[in-house]
Symmetry: none
Subunit: 295 residues, 2 copies
DNA sequence: CGTGCATTGCAACAAGTGTTTCAAAAATTA
DNA sequence: TAATTTTTGAAACACTTGTTGCAATGCACG
């Protein structure tokens, strides 16, 4: 096996010291680590040909508090392996991990992997499909409420620099939906929504569809309520070790869409960008050092 | 998803026919298939936020004899996946770059790497340092203009769910800066700004410093104008193959900061989150399906 | 040949499992 | 509106789980 597994190694290392029954249990575990996670202790014992109690005793022998520790370890290992984190986890183990405040490290590794997974063939195809639809649109309406506002706004902002085809469905005093007033079948709605789904996003998307718009959705699940009313769907993970969902992969998706759209019309994009630059320059929007205070 | 999974597909296919509770259970299963194999039904139900009985009912709904069938299926799937993992990993290494339409692929790979690089020891130390400062603050003022608005707003939004210590320096009619009116030495400014740097971000940061605030900066370069006036700096890459800079790594950084802050006060965060949930629930902000039009 | 000691099997245990039943609540229909 | 059906929550069910204490077993050593 490729994976490095501290507990498994410990079992192997202390194998010789074990009594015959313990060895029999240990042998079965070492040779079937996934089974530990997948079946009950009693069944494992049955398959290994030992008494249930022997498994508990093996745990104690390994200085663990009980069999649950063994199962916990191999469950976690299997979880990671199945997620495709194995390679990264191995790297992580290799580095001198102080095991201290691993949260930041874990979050970043996980984000990196989640975005990496977006470059699998199926995701790429969906991204291209979405870019096709968006590219043909007369106007692109962008909708993202609450947590998804950041993604919607960023897409809109970048597209604004590249042209004037996008309309951001947001505004003060609940006027956000007004943008759809004159939208029609030649237009496309780009909606970003993740669980829990904002009612208004769903309602507006349904309305857009009724008005004949095509719908491109960036969402988080194959059973997202947006799927039935969308022409193109891009799925991105929002899993996180924290209390809240991550939007980093969704933002990555939106940036890729911007990139694809810009690439479809290099000349136009470049020209629009130059105009934007000039506009912002005359307004003195940007600086490279802290300006002296304007009195 | 590479593997085909008949049961998962069946769940997705019949999702629409399900009752709300069944949908909630089904949604959780579809999005966490490994968990089905790894934890008990009751725990799965707990995590999915449904009654244990609902899982059994879901099984019956799918024409299975009981929940054991569901678990059996996903256990088998996980077993196979774990076995075939090594082989597939090797394959994946081989299929490097079909070169066709590579932009999306390249962008995602690059983003994944950029975020991965953030988990190097130095970055982690800076993140911890920034979290320390932010954690002690009486109030946290968040400032991000133009392209950085998305990051600033996302940070603010998440922190709002976790408590009420943050103030977003943005607003209509150029009132954004007003928030700093009563800020003082006990407060911290979190500013996000990348090249080209918005003049107003620099000005406001300088003002905040004059008022005695500590400054935490998320920026893109060791020669960023923010560095001299900041107490803690987190650098993140904005390089991109496109015409515009990427903000995905910056968003990742802000999410990690949120995570670290939440972890510093688990109890408080959890409680605040529950309150937020309740508030949003009474307002009917969220839904899991397209609601019938309100007349 | 016993004696001591680790090892093993067994039975009992509290706790947790998946399932079923039933009544209340909600949604739908008349 | 009332009547009907569907959906939901809660409790009880029989069963399995992981653990533990105790007696039986085997085995080495005087």
């Amino acid at each position: 096996m490729l994976q490095q597994d501290v507990l498994r190694d410990r079992i192997v290392a202390r194998f010789e010291e074990m009594s015959p029954q313990l060895q029999q249990a240990a042998r079965y575990i070492v040779e079937n680590t996934q089974e530990v996670a997948l079946v009950s202790m009693r069944e494992l014992a049955r398959n290994a040909g030992v008494q249930p109690a022997t498994m508990t005793r093996l745990a104690k022998f390994l200085d663990l508090s009980g069999y649950e520790d063994i199962r916990g370890h191999f469950s976690e290992a299997l979880r990671l392996r199945a997620d495709g984190f194995a390679a990264r986890a191995r790297e992580r183990e290799g580095e001198h991990g102080p095991a201290g405040s691993g949260l930041a490290h874990d979050m970043l590794q996980s984000l990196s992997a989640q975005i990496g997974r977006l470059s699998e063939p199926e995701s790429l195809a969906r991204l291209e499909g979405a870019a096709d639809l968006l590219g043909q649109a007369r106007r692109v309406y962008v909708l993202g409420l609450r947590s998804c506002h950041s993604v919607a706004w960023h897409f809109h902002y970048v597209m604004t620099l590249l042209g004037d085809r996008t309309v951001h469905l947001d505004g003060p005093a609940d006027t956000g939906a007004d943008g759809l007033l004159r939208a029609g079948p030649e237009d496309v709605l780009l909606v970003i929504s993740i669980s829990p789904y904002a009612v208004q996003s769903l309602e507006l998307s349904a309305l857009a569809r009724e008005k004949g718009l095509s719908v491109v959705a960036i969402t988080d699940s194959e059973v997202s309520p947006l799927i039935p009313i969308s022409d193109q769907v891009i799925l991105c993970s929002t899993e996180s070790r924290t209390f809240f969902h991550t939007l980093t992969p969704a933002l990555a998706v939106s940036e890729v869409l911007c990139g694809l759209l810009a690439a479809r019309d290099r000349e136009g994009s470049l020209k629009a960008l130059q105009e934007a630059d000039q506009h912002l320059a005359t307004l003195n929007i940007y600086a490279n050092s802290i300006p002296r205070r304007r009195i």
